[in-house]
């Protein structure tokens, strides 16, 4: 039996005692499920280490330039940030419900949950783009006409100054380090958003296949494994939110 994808054995499927979705190098469906599930967990481990580098950089810089990080974090809108956290948590819930529906072989339930997750994911990205646009307008994107005025003279930034009147003007060198904060903000949330985009794209594909009934015949592997990926992306945000938004708001 050749595993070459160049030759398809459609007719052979009838002759085998195993379901069509079981690959030939696996002995049983259970082995296939187990192996692919484990593979997805290992992939998530690589993602943990990948983000680990960014977290390390963040922790070092935050420790060195705490005042800059505090004042720079006040530039982030807590309302949008909390809303995003809520949206993502809700999308994790809908994804988990999707897995449940697949396990219970309820096709319409599965498709509904996947679509809800999809919409919530887009909602997260939409809010993120609102926040990013705001940063662009206020010249807080590092390397692109970065402006120190909000930090050298907090009174000039009305909105933020009203919410955080205790913020003092930073000395010039500390004010410069707010650029490091924003770099880490964009790098970490940007990397996170990239993972969301990839996840949403895959979700689109899964919705199409779920509608065709592919995942409600007992073959829950794809949904379950994608669910793991989605929850992982949620967990990254669960840590990004307090680290970036909640440094100190008193």
């Amino acid at each position: 039996m050749s595993d070459s994808t160049a030759v398809r054995h459609a007719a052979e499927a009838e002759a085998h005692e195993h379901p069509a979705y079981q690959r030939h190098h696996f002995e049983t469906v259970a082995q296939q499920f187990d192996a692919t599930n484990f593979a997805m967990w290992l992939f998530l481990l690589t993602e943990v280490m990948f983000f680990g580098g960014l977290f390390t950089a963040y922790l070092v810089m935050r420790n060195w330039y705490y005042p800059a990080f505090v004042e720079a974090s006040h530039q982030l809108n807590i309302g949008w940030g909390t809303a995003n956290t809520g949206v993502l948590i809700l999308s994790s819930f809908t994804m988990a419900m999707g897995v449940w529906n697949a396990q219970m072989r309820r096709k319409s339930g599965l498709v509904l949950c996947l679509i809800l997750t999809f919409i919530l994911g887009l909602g997260f990205l939409g809010i993120k783009s609102i926040e990013y646009t705001e940063k662009f307008e206020k010249h807080h994107i590092p390397g692109f006409h970065y402006s120190l005025s909000s930090f050298l003279n907090p009174a000039s930034d009305e909105e933020v100054h009203k919410a955080y009147p205790a913020d003092k003007p930073l000395p010039l060198d500390m004010a410069r380090h707010t650029e490091l904060y924003f770099f880490l903000y964009f790098a970490m949330t940007g990397m996170h958003a990239l993972h969301m985009i990839i996840g949403i794209a895959i979700l689109g594909y899964l919705i199409v296949r779920a509608q065709a009934g592919d995942f409600t015949t007992g073959h829950v592997t794809y949904i379950e494994n994608f669910g793991l990926y989605w929850h992982f992306v949620d967990i990254i945000w669960i840590f990004l939110f307090p680290l970036l938004y909640l440094i100190s708001r008193y």
């Binding site: 070459s4 593979a39 280490m49 680990g52 950089a57 070092v60 810089m61 380090h177 650029e179 490091l180």
Partner: protein
Amino acid sequence: MSTTTIVTLPDQSTARIPKMNFMSKENGLLSWLLTGDHKRIAILYLISITFFFFIGGALAGLIRLELLTPQSDLMASDTYNKVFTMHGIIMIFLFLVPSVPATLGNFFIPMMIGAKDLALPKINLLSWYLYVVGGILVIYTMVAGGVDTGWTFTTPLSTHYVNTNVMSTGLAIFIAGFSSIFTGLNFIVTIHKMRCPGMTWFRLPLFVWSNYAASILMVLGTPVLAITIILVALERTVGIGVFDPTKGGDPILFQHLFWFYSHPAVYIMILPGMGVISETISTFSRKRVFGYTAVAFSSVAIAVFGFFVWAHHMFIMGISNYSVLIFSLLTMLVAVPSAIKIFNWTFTLYKGSITFETPMLYSFGFMGLFTIGGLTGVFLGSSGTDIHLTETYFIVAHFHFVMVGGMLMAFLAGIHFWWPKMTGRMYPEKISQLAALVTFIGFNLTFFPQFILGTLGMPRRYAAYPAEFQILNVFSTAGATVLGVGYILPVLYLVWSLKYGEIAGSNPWQATGLEWQTQSPPLTENFPVTPIMDHEAYDYDWLENQEAKEVASVG
């Protein structure tokens, strides 16, 4: 039956390569380029890494030619920087890291555990394509003018002070890194989930254990390199400041992140080689490996401890003295499991029936040269001595002893050992033994003088050096010439053997191990019937019983 060799070949007048095997199963370029068969992918990898090895080797030749004279007269210093950088990048990322895992590991891990294929065949193929893309980008980089930062990309040089092709090199390594990650991921899943009935963990060949340990390192370590490359790229393009002191960043942060991968990387490189040595030493002493459990656990121990010692590459860079102390102590610890293996292999040899076929010659070379390389590593791990020896030729000699004298010899041992299984043909023994000897002599002549050069104070990565170092450099270059011959010979006779080599039969070495109990070359699905493992690893008594019961097949 001659007692000087254990090779047992079938009667050449009647023996044939089996008609049905993984190479003859399907024909045509697409059947190779779109294959899911781990054995075909292994062959694809073998061809690719050999190609890159010789490019890296040519660059090494250029380095040694330049260093014949004290002046920077063959090439400008900037060019020399590019030459050694590309040599390092190609040899490490495009040769050593994938060498044993992607070729021998891919080919034999499924067979050794009695499986039909790896757990994720498509990911395996993707892995090879990523490697090829990474390799093409490296070639592009060379054509576009190279990069001169050294393979270590130290900041702020690589981010702020050079205008060479750091970005394309970074992209190449980023992609090649994912090739490595996917290979490791595949191995871990396969070894956990695809073992045949009866194949418990402690019946696995030690080759599998070593590759398993290396795979853990690949999966957990390589992503940190990936993010580090992204940070360097962002620093170069946008100027974010995370490695820039003028913006409040720290160049040493780069080194922490870089070496967090690159130290485990050296264990990724050596562990699979150690796995090969376990197999060859056992086969050519006709004895089970002494202390199987110790060797198995020491592989995993090397992997685990390997994550805690990275800053021994940074002793002089500006980390705190307390850090230096901790990392130096931990480095002493990591040497222990490696030493355990050497002791166990030595005890395996003791009272064994030793024969000196080519894989065994390379294995002896490994044991001696890796020991020297490893011991000098301990000298370097001690921070007091490291302060004087770091960034000198002592380091260069140290890592070439472990990587070339160690790993490359192990790779060649493995290629020779499993060549009959992969191709169905034997290579010519006399010339291969000669090549092994030439390699050993050439290696010592090339790299031993470099230890002396290092202790005398010659810095590394310099095109020009004080005249008093010339004589040792001349020895080194002379050795390199000999070494080059030693590496070209195998390519020649191995390719020759594909057409003219003797038919090997299924088990020319009388080895234990499931891969030897089936035809050479193997069937696409590896075994006609799923094997059931009912004996311990390296069980030569079981093998004797098998052979007594065997009916020799004709062709």
